[in-house]
Symmetry: C2
């Protein structure tokens, strides 16, 4: 084992924890905070609680919520303009992964010169960022604890990956009670995103004992609690467990990075405005089958964590039960099974050569456990079509 | 479950990771660092590597190593004077728990007015501290990741507990290869300290799902690797696993706090200069027996983590096998079995009423899972005598 690093923000976790936002802003020295959210979020009761807590702490705030389902460069630029015009001094993201990623992008441009494109890659941010507090509302992206932001370059139509320790927020406030406003489709897709994070981090070539601990826990929690969480908005135990799964999967992948599912999903999501979690859900079992050859023992371990009885099976056989489990889970919770099921108007097949090339160059491909070439990515896309 | 918080430093883990110290200091903006260590540490080869890495980064350093086996108030005061006279701007602790606790104390007094006594308790530190990097050399205390420093008040002869998020270091560098310079006695006592941290954090009334994950892992690792780590200085796999156990036990107790073992051990360690890990090792099985009543299921789970076959046993019966495991482990690795075996010149029995009162007032007693009164502490001390 070489040298490995692990970073995470301060985490405040539990039902009612959004009430800590005012005090948290104060603790970080904020006076006027910039809240990034989306049009649905600002209509909820708990969003009011957040702004009330901020006001009660004697702070001012500005809201910015002109966001779409994937986080775009121009949304970051427009937000930064507003942040600077309003002379804010801290960034708060309240929403799903896209919202948090836009909030991080605004944090970058608020103190660093240049376009958001100039920070693509690893460790390109040189000037310290303002305090960042993230409040995830989907139990999915893990962005609230990660050193990543994934933003769409709307000209090139690709998702850019920006990695830096300064993107690890100062505080992540994870309140499972806000998850009860999600519908079943969003609960399903974000839940499968969590599973994808955990599995890709666990088999990543950059995994470490510390990331494994979190990946393993996340896998078990998804196996036990994703179905009941999709089944009922009111099952707060299942929501709490899925929020914990999302947190731990986020800690795992932030430090172990991901693999081919995310590389391919970023390519698709950069080109078309599709739900990230759903694209991952379709691709995951195909990529698991492909990667099985590289680390059968790890996939056998995943099968155990998912609750499969693997006694008497070889590692390869046990690993295949993990793939089958993921397929069954995905069907049970009504996730799409093929990329062509997702209501896209364009002919996806015609884009496969281009998407495959983009995926191959994605930063997440570097840590995929099995060597992968253009023809392999192409073949995986065709299988999932 | 209420609202709970979890904080940890950036962790750099792995053989050879001490080479990262220079770059780490630079990253935190340090120019002249104050290194706290002890007379044994400065004679090792790897200490030279640390100072070389700092010099190669173009930084200056000052060394302070006039420390004893428990961290004392006057050692903090003297160190602070040197820190200020030399106009240092960052604190590095290289050593066991005592060294790291003194380094944290110096960090407090370097920017805050008042005696070290005035910061005793929770959240008394108001001014931000200088950057802190800790390099543990004993795989025991967990102080490199915790929000605690435990310092002896040499006048009152008690151990003061200081708790603050600002005591969580910025970076913890954990290099298992430095552990091979420890002798068997120190490996045994610090290893049992790790087990005590993990068990007390797991049964603490302030435990959370995130602290449980780390506590559980630490317990399993100690069960598997403490014996071989004591048996051979050269077993680097065992040292690496024990370093990981120490780290995870530290993450658990930093956020879940501890219990009666530590409360009592602090009382003893404040009065007499005894090895903290050894005092814990003696007290642990007695306190486990006492606490079993409060949470038999948790103790049954501990038994499982220790590798006991608990099938067909009630929780209480299973919990008792955990106590027996700890006793056997402690005997196997040659740890003292009674407080009177530890070479103390004074008549410990005469001090029991006083020690019991001090232990009852210790901050760690608050999170003990079973209600505890003066007569109970007195009785536990007498059992362990």
């Amino acid at each position: 084992m070489g040298i490995n690093k692990f970073v995470m923000p301060e985490v405040i976790f539990g039902n009612g924890s959004i009430s800590q936002i005012g005090e948290s802003c104060l603790r970080l020295g904020a006076k006027k905070v910039f809240i990034v959210s989306d049009p649905n979020v600002i209509q909820t009761n708990w969003y009011n609680e957040i702004t009330k807590s901020i006001e009660q702490a004697g702070l001012h705030y500005v809201n910015y919520n002109e966001l779409t389902i994937n986080p775009k460069d121009f949304e970051v630029e427009k937000g930064t303009q507003s942040y600077l015009e309003n002379e804010c001094d801290a960034v708060i993201g309240v929403g799903g992964g896209s919202t948090i990623d836009v909030a991080k992008g605004i944090a970058i441009l608020s103190t660093n010169e240049g376009t958001i494109q100039s920070f693509e890659g690893i460790d390109k941010i040189t000037t310290p960022l303002p305090p960042q507090i993230m409040i995830p509302t989907t139990a999915g992206s893990g962005s609230e604890v990660s050193q990543f932001t994934i933003l769409v370059d709307s000209t090139r139509k690709i998702k850019m990956t920006i990695v830096s320790k300064s993107l690890v927020p100062d505080i992540a406030i994870i309140d499972p009670s806000v998850l009860s406003t999600k519908d079943a489709q969003l609960t399903a897709s974000t839940g499968l995103d969590v599973l994808t994070h955990a599995i890709e981090a666990f088999v990543s070539v950059a995994s470490t004992p510390l990331t494994d601990v979190h990946a393993q826990n996340a896998i078990s929690l998804v196996a036990d609690y994703l179905r009941p969480s999709v089944a009922s908005k009111l099952n707060i135990e299942a929501k709490t467990k899925m929020a914990m799964a999302s947190l731990q999967a986020g800690l795992a992948f932030s430090n172990a990075i991901l693999g081919a599912v995310h590389a391919m999903s970023h390519a698709v999501g950069g080109r078309f405005d599709m739900l990230h979690g759903e694209v991952n859900a379709v691709l995951l079992p195909y990529v698991m089958e492909y990667n099985l050859l590289a680390c059968p023992d790890k996939f056998a371990h995943i099968a155990q964590l998912l609750g499969e009885d693997i006694q008497g099976l070889t590692s390869i056989e046990a690993g295949r039960t993990a793939v089958a489990f993921v397929r069954d889970l995905s069907i049970d919770i009504g996730a799409p099974q093929r990329l062509s099921d997702m209501g896209l108007k364009e002919d996806l097949e015609a884009y496969i050569p281009e998407l495959s090339q983009v995926a191959l160059n994605d930063a997440c491909m570097i840590t995929n456990p099995r060597d992968i070439f253009l023809k392999d990515v192409d073949s995986l896309f065709r299988q999932a079509l």
